[in-house]
Amino acid sequence: MRRKPIYLDYAATTPLDPRARTCMLPFFDEAYGNPASVHSWGQQAEAALEQSRARIAANLGCGTDEIVFTSGGSESDNLALRGAAFAARQGRSANHILISPVEHPAVLETGRQLQQLHGFELEYLPVDHYGRVEPGDLAERLRPDTAVVSVIYGNNEIGSVNPISELGVLCRQQGIPFHTDALQAVAQLELRVDELPVDLLSIGAHKFYGPKGVGALYVRRATPMIPIQTGGSHERGWRAGTSNVPLIVGMSEALEVVAERRRTDIQDFGKLRDRIVDSVLGSVPGALLTGHPTERLPNHASFVFEGVDSNQLLAALDLAGYACSSASACKTGEPEPSEVLLAIGLDPRLATSSLRVTVGRQTTSVEVEAFLTSLPEAVSRLRAIEPAFP
């Protein structure tokens, strides 16, 4: 195309950090041993695996025995929900699952399957217009037979950050396991489980400049859990399957980099985000911010544009050289309203007109300004021949 395209979709995935990349390489074809093997290759790989675990545990503020490596965020969410739900049923006949309606599909669909195939009672917590769960609403719905509660930390679609501390405290008082999907939060929120009352926390490396295909679940000690992938005794029996050593090494290095630069990243991202929000709301008629105006992920701006189909908007922006995203767009062109936007009370028509703009370490203010010039043009061109806009 005409010039280098501009990437504004860091919530979808991030480029691999160069340090993480360098760390990974020897483990593909030099130190390629299976960490379960007895010989020296195996010992070398096991050392790398356990060092990575120790670094991740130190960064999250937990013990090494509380980290389970997985294939990514979705698997972590699955393990958390299924593992905790089945254990609670087995241990204390608990059958009730509480989740927010604005969870990532990895939680929503898992909850639905537990309901439909396994007979759990699934209840959705109410959310406000920003997609946040009020602690009082959780307190009212917690029951002695609640098996597990899951509330997303920073929302992937609308950026709102939930009051995880308050929610977690309520669960802890009742002894109910509390899970949070922290995939979007890791790179940009101070996040330590020794300060946060959560029992289960999912992370995925590619959302914080690590490689794709690897993640972890933090499982607080003594949280009742049942493994959902059975086989060998890898990960102390919590997750069978040969450990993916190079990716795990890459993830630990990426988290190390996050810890080093989180503070400045948060400030840099926040400035760009605020500039995007202010400019778009000022320059695009009929634009609405979705999600909370201040309690939101520092890199995350999300909108709906009256009378614009998000599939068309994404295509127009892509052709103009900007990569953005929308939960209501998909590769088959189907204009499906986003479930999250419906849950926060948006009109279905508006819920097919969303746009998510997320910045990251490589984003410059020059790029953002170029985008802010092009977006209103794209929107008005789509509206010009589109009779739907009043």
């Binding site: 068309q312 127009a316 052709l319 590769k331 088959t332 062109g333 204009p335 061109r381 010009a384 021949i385």
Partner: protein, 356 residues
């Protein structure tokens, strides 16, 4: 957008539209691909042009050509503008041409508008036809490959549509297109040609009509031209003018469907000679050439997609959109609902819908 032209290519995952895109890329044009999602497949019979497999094919071709590719969901407009009139037409006793409705309202309607909104200056398709003349006065011509010529189904375009259109395959034969696609190693080079209406998904159209639940779908008498009962038909929509097979009446001379008498719910059959007509009327005339042919132009008319053109005299009724058509030689299979498309030599001038 900059001043350079940008061509949107309508891609279906088939060899023709894939090759149309490839040729434009080869010519150094700035190109992006658009695929229409027209219809949801019946689970048992994937529809032919926009199934998940076709979509994956088109995506692979676009990736190989390194062009952007997007999908436009037009299922609802397609149902309203193409499928419902198709069903209604059959129930009324006519034989509609849904491809022409689709070209007019979906391809050179929704798709073209969408392409322009995305910043395209032109829309290209894999049709076999040629455009000559200037963008301000474009002319539609038959393709060089007369066997594949598709100007008949493009006769419904407005001149303004034509001036924004490109048909990169117009100078090529189908064999050349396949060969070029094979040389480029396009993953669709050996896909079979499409035959049926895309939304039938390989089913017989009668089955499709029955599934769609027609109200006036009752059996009735089969009669000859004198009105003599010969048997029972299974419902008028199941028959087309000129049809010989499957009538279910045995006679020394083969019978053909000559007419459908909707009032009496009767299927009128007769010998082949009874099909011959030397005049008919058309309505909804529309001239892709920009204006009606001048008096005295020697014209030919084509009454079906795959029939040949025959010499004709056209009596335009003033400025109205209807006309009397007089053929120099009688032809068979004049079918209400089908298009009569007029040509001057190789040039396609436009056409209308046969009404009786």
């Amino acid at each position: 957008m900059n001043s350079r032209r940008t061509i949107a290519v309508a891609m279906s995952g088939g060899v023709d539209s894939s090759m149309a895109a490839a040729l434009l890329v080869e010519q150094g044009e700035q190109v992006f691909g658009l695929m229409l999602r027209l219809w949801d497949a019946h689970p048992d019979r994937p529809n032919r042009c926009c199934s998940p497999r076709d979509m994956a094919n088109a995506r692979m071709v676009a990736a190989q050509l390194e062009i952007p590719f997007y999908v436009l969901d037009v299922r609802e407009p397609f149902r309203q503008a193409v499928v419902e009139p198709f069903i209604a037409g059959y129930l009324e006793g006519i034989t509609p041409n849904p491809c022409m409705a689709c070209n007019r309202q979906i391809r050179w309607g929704h798709l073209l508008r969408h392409a322009l909104q995305l910043g395209a200056t032109h829309l290209a398709t894999g049709h076999y036809a040629r455009i000559e003349g200037s963008d301000s006065q474009p002319r539609l011509y038959r393709s060089r490959d007369r066997m594949k010529d598709q100007s008949y189904v493009l006769s419904v375009l407005r001149q303004a549509d034509l001036s924004l259109s490109r048909f990169p395959l117009g100078e090529l034969t189908k064999d050349q297109v396949r060969e070029a696609a094979t040389q480029l190693r396009l993953p669709v080079a050996d896909r079979p040609d499409s035959q049926d209406l895309c939304f039938l998904g390989g089913a017989d159209y009668r089955e499709f009509l029955k599934d769609s639940g027609g109200a006036s779908w009752g059996p009735g008498p089969i009669v000859d031209q004198a009105g003599t009962p010969l048997g029972t038909h299974q419902g008028l929509p199941a028959y087309t003018i000129g049809q010989r097979k499957g009538i279910g009446v045995s006679a020394p001379v083969p019978f053909y469907v000559v007419a459908k008498d909707k009032e009496r719910n009767a299927l009128v059959v007769g010998p082949r000679a009874a099909l011959a007509r030397s005049s008919f009327r058309v309505d909804r005339l529309q001239w892709v050439a920009g204006e009606p042919p001048e008096l005295g132009t020697s014209l030919s008319v084509q009454v079906r997609y795959r029939s040949s053109a025959v010499p004709v005299r056209l009596q335009l009724n003033g400025t109205t959109a209807s006309a009397e058509v007089e053929l120099e030689q009688p032809v068979l299979q004049i079918t209400p609902g089908q298009a009569a498309v007029f040509y001057s030599g190789e040039e396609c001038l436009g056409g209308g819908v046969i009404i009786q």
